[in-house]
């Protein structure tokens, strides 16, 4: 198992796609922050009325750190993890590993650990970069709300759940293109189906989309999140993470290669 982990981490840190995807994620953060700054500048000019200006708030480093999760990070994660996880299957290098007596379970274990580590690195680097970008561009560090740390941690768990979901999809499809397509479109489709469910329910109290990753991330990135919402975020993240991991494990065991 240790050798398999060494192999996976060597692959990870020597993968150009890892650094390219990470760089894209950081560029997106800069663009997003720069756009906000431009809008703020425009709002302060006379051309725009006070009404528009009051709609915008100067972001702080803390608020930007939280909003990292709602940016394009999930899409970047989907693309990178699809490329990284399917590489051994598309290049057929996996047979060289199985042929050395490594079980499917230990190969799966090494792959999910390295994939989750890659996801964690991308999330943390993006979050810290957002924080730094906030300080440089707006000069405001800001203050933490009551449930700030809890909501950031819940966001982290949900983003890791996304990573586990993308990993399971890559393990199931084993083809880079198909994996990217399903990873991007699959969660969107679930969101749409839940929206359809909302329409069918016609309830003011329950929103099904709030119980899916995407909807929960939106709630968690808001300024003042209630403790209950944070807890639900944790539960959803952990459940999806475990289910995705288990599905990936079963699919990997049952597949020939």
């Amino acid at each position: 198992m240790m050798n398999l982990l060494r192999l996976e981490f060597r692959r990870l840190f020597r993968a150009k796609s890892f650094y390219i995807c990470l760089a894209i994620s950081l560029v997106m953060i800069i663009i997003s922050a720069a756009t906000t700054k431009m809008l703020l500048n425009m709002a302060s000019s006379e051309e725009f009325g006070e009404a528009f200006g009051s709609m915008l708030q100067t972001p702080t480093s803390f608020s930007l750190l939280k909003s990292t999760a709602s940016s394009s990070l999930t899409m970047v994660l989907a693309i990178f993890l699809s490329i990284f996880v399917t590489e051994d299957y598309t290049a057929d290098t996996i047979k060289n590993i199985y042929a050395k007596g490594h079980s499917r379970d230990s190969v799966f274990g090494a792959k999910i650990i390295s994939a989750m580590a890659a996801g964690l690195i991308m999330i943390l680097v993006s979050a810290l970069f957002s924080f730094a970008a906030g300080k440089v561009m707006f000069g405001e560090v800001g203050t933490m709300g009551e449930n700030y740390i809890g909501s950031v941690l819940a966001e982290l768990v949900i983003l890791l759940a996304y990573a586990a979901l993308y990993f399971a999809i890559a393990i199931a499809f084993k083809k880079t293109g198909a994996s990217i397509a399903v990873s991007i479109l699959g969660p969107l489709l679930v969101g749409l189906l839940l929206s359809l469910g909302n329409a069918a329910l016609k309830s003011d109290k329950i929103s099904l989309t709030d119980y899916w990753l995407d909807g929960r991330l939106t709630i968690l990135t808001q300024a003042n999140v209630e403790g209950k919402e944070v807890l639900i975020g944790f539960i959803i993240g952990v459940v999806v993470l475990l289910v995705a991991g288990a599905v990936g494990f079963v699919v990997n065991r049952s597949s020939e290669q």
Partner: protein
């Protein structure tokens, strides 16, 4: 008899077909075992099961005398179908990655790359290699960790004649000097015939025969070829000797019996005034034998 590979009723069923059907294989330690069969006969599937790349549907595999296969598979090197290589990496990086799971130092990696003729490829990515270069890299990867058994599926695919000779020499060298056992499949029967010490013939998933190279050579002998000045008289003399299974051709007689009586036949013909210019064992080629065994 010490077997490195032994299978009992090894079977692989796919939804659409039975790829390997109750195969009992025996590969002796130190042998070069040629696995022969048509495309789709089950050679690669059998090799993949032995290596643990796919799971058998039924049957048993014993490697190096044990059924604890995951422990001993480290002692096997393999090249199955197209070589599995990281296309966006150099040959050296590929070797370094697989050395993590197979074993092998930086010095050994360098030596192996030199040995397969990839010592000077520099930073060229493996994806840009020619088919032959990829095959050489696949062989170098298979040789990592000093394996005691090498399972090679069509190892000379894509190699030029010089490359084929190099691989053949390498196989013979490893076999003779290090006692490495080989299981090799190849469509090039003549090439296999130059090195194999035993054969397994597989057809439609069934292992129809296991045969040693000596036995095969003997079975390919189909008679005595007699070239003489008077073939008519020679035929009559053969009849006198009690032979009936022979065929007179335009320039020779093919006697399908009495392979062990060639000296006696020669003496009898010469004593009776027939000048014998050639008396030799007539053989069918390996190819013909295999085609016959495969039912064509």
């Amino acid at each position: 008899m010490e077997y490195v590979i032994e299978t009992r009723s090894l079977t692989k069923r796919f939804p659409s077909k039975i790829a390997v059907n109750k195969a009992d294989m025996h590969v002796e330690k130190g042998a070069i075992y040629g696995l022969i069969g048509k495309n789709g006969a089950g050679k690669t599937t059998a090799m993949k099961m032995i290596l643990g790349i796919i799971a058998p549907s039924a049957g048993e595999i014993t490697l190096f005398g044990t059924k604890e296969l995951s422990k001993v598979r480290k002692r096997i090197g393999s090249l199955i179908e197209a070589p599995g290589i990281y296309k966006n990496c150099t040959a050296e990086e590929n070797m370094k990655r697989f050395a993590i799971v197979s074993g092998g130092t930086d010095r050994e990696i360098k030596e192996l790359l030199e040995f397969v003729g990839l010592g000077n490829v520099g930073n060229k990515k493996a994806g840009a290699f020619s088919l032959g270069m990829k095959q050489r890299l696949g062989i170098a990867i298979a040789l990592l960790g000093d394996p005691e058994l090498l399972i090679l599926d069509e190892p000379i695919n894509g190699l030029d004649p010089a490359g084929i000779k190099e691989i053949r020499d390498l196989i013979l060298k490893l076999n003779k000097e290090k006692g490495v056992t080989f299981m090799i499949s190849s469509h090039l029967l003549d090439e296999l015939g130059k090195i194999a010490t035993a054969y397994g013939i597989i057809n439609d998933g069934k292992l129809i025969e296991e045969i040693s190279a000596e036995e095969l050579t003997a079975r390919c002998h189909d008679g005595l070829k007699i070239v003489a000045d008077d073939l008519e008289k020679a035929a009559s003399l053969l009849t006198q000797m009690g032979f009936s299974d022979f065929k007179a051709k335009r320039t020779s007689i093919l006697l399908r019996e009495g392979l062990d009586r060639s000296a006696e036949i020669n003496e009898f013909l010469v004593k009776n005034g027939v000048k014998v210019s050639e008396l030799s064992i007539h053989s069918n080629g390996f190819e013909e034998y295999f085609i016959k065994r495969l039912g064509h």
